[in-house]
Amino acid sequence: MARTWGNVSVRIDDRHMVITPSGRRYDELNPSDMVLVDFYTLKFEGKIKPSSELKLHCQVYKTRPHIQAVIHTHQMYASIVAAAQKDVVVTNPAYQQTLGGTIIKAAPYALPNTKKITVETARAIEDSNAALMSNHGAVCIGTSLDAAFEVAHILEKACEDFIESKKRAAV
């Protein structure tokens, strides 16, 4: 998470989440800048616009009731695999546990802020705690904000391992 890239949300109740605002730097944000959104109607409170990726966050909260936090990142190694539009094969058992599976899927490419990117990414993350968004980045989820950050951290390691294994195979 850096500058204005990516976004973070936390579930408040069965109908609402708070999400980071659109186009604002993380190091300049205050609690009052967070935007309360109804994830069924997409209506938000206040004058500050929520992140443009809010539909993806809403879709996750609607379909995965136990999920409490969603993070969308543009992290380096996940971006490399996402640009190659490959699924990540996770071989480390500890990583498999955190990521919730042995394969982290790459959702097919779709333009940002479209229905297609929301639907495809939600589908790719149905059976795990992370998914890649082709040519874009990653989405990580958890039962708490700390858990979602840990998923993002482990996803980065798993992607780096995946790339290194391909490099070794190429030698």
Binding site: A2, R3, T4, W5, P21, S22, G23, R24, I48, K49, S52, H74, M76, Y77, S79, I80, V81, A83, A84, Q85, K86, Y109, L111, P112, S134, N135, H136, G137, I163, K166, K167, A170
Partner: protein, 199 residues
């Protein structure tokens, strides 16, 4: 901005780059070699290319009316560009071919491709774009401010690393050029303005 204010900005540039570079270590290394700053239509501040940006003193910053050809081409063709950075970058310096749009943020901030440019024809290399890699391995990144130009340099480095490393996975799959153009226009015309409004 006065000449004095511009000079102060350039003297503080390395501190700014160090702060903004923190947390991006995995993206690669970006070293700014020279900065050109437009003051108005006839005056430009240029840093001494013999010194690193960290070593600059007031005596290394000169007001010129006619910058070197490379800078002159850019400033005359791109009226909204106020800052030009010449950089040395760990991954961008290894790229020897045009990079298509392979990441959404690249398309939005840098343009539909990153070209390899001949310094004599840099205006063409940067047409509709905010970064280019020179044939000698250096890069040129531009923006309306030092912040914008440095973001372009950082994103160029990330894009270059993704492009090079993805080769081990069968190569990065390019985004459709029209969609990449559309994303850049959306960013320039809507998203960046919305960000200002949201402050």
């Amino acid at each position: 901005m006065t000449i004095e204010e511009g000079t102060l900005q350039l003297l503080g540039a390395q501190q700014f780059f160090d702060k903004e570079g923190t947390g991006y270590e995995s993206w690669g290394r970006v070293t700014v070699l020279q900065i050109a700053l437009r003051m108005n239509d006839t005056e430009f501040l240029m840093t001494n290319v013999e010194k690193t940006v960290a070593q600059l003193t007031k005596d290394d910053i000169h007001v010129v009316s006619k910058p070197d050809h490379l800078f002159q081409q850019i400033f005359s063709k791109r009226k909204k560009v106020n800052v030009i950075l010449v950089t040395s970058q760990q991954y961008a310096s290894q790229v020897k071919e045009e990079i298509p749009a392979i990441l959404d943020d690249q398309a939005q901030l840098l343009g539909v491709t990153v070209r390899i440019s001949n310094p004599r024809e840099i205006a063409f290399g940067l047409k509709g774009r905010f970064a280019t890699i020179l044939s000698d391995g250096k890069s040129v990144c531009i923006g309306s401010s030092i912040d914008d130009a440095y973001v372009a340099a950082q994103l160029l480095e990330k894009t270059s690393k993704v492009f090079l490393e993805a080769k081990y996975l069968g190569g990065a799959k390019p985004i459709n050029k029209i969609e990449a153009w559309f994303m850049q226009q959306y960013y320039l015309l809507k998203y960046s303005k919305e960000a200002v409004k949201n402050k």
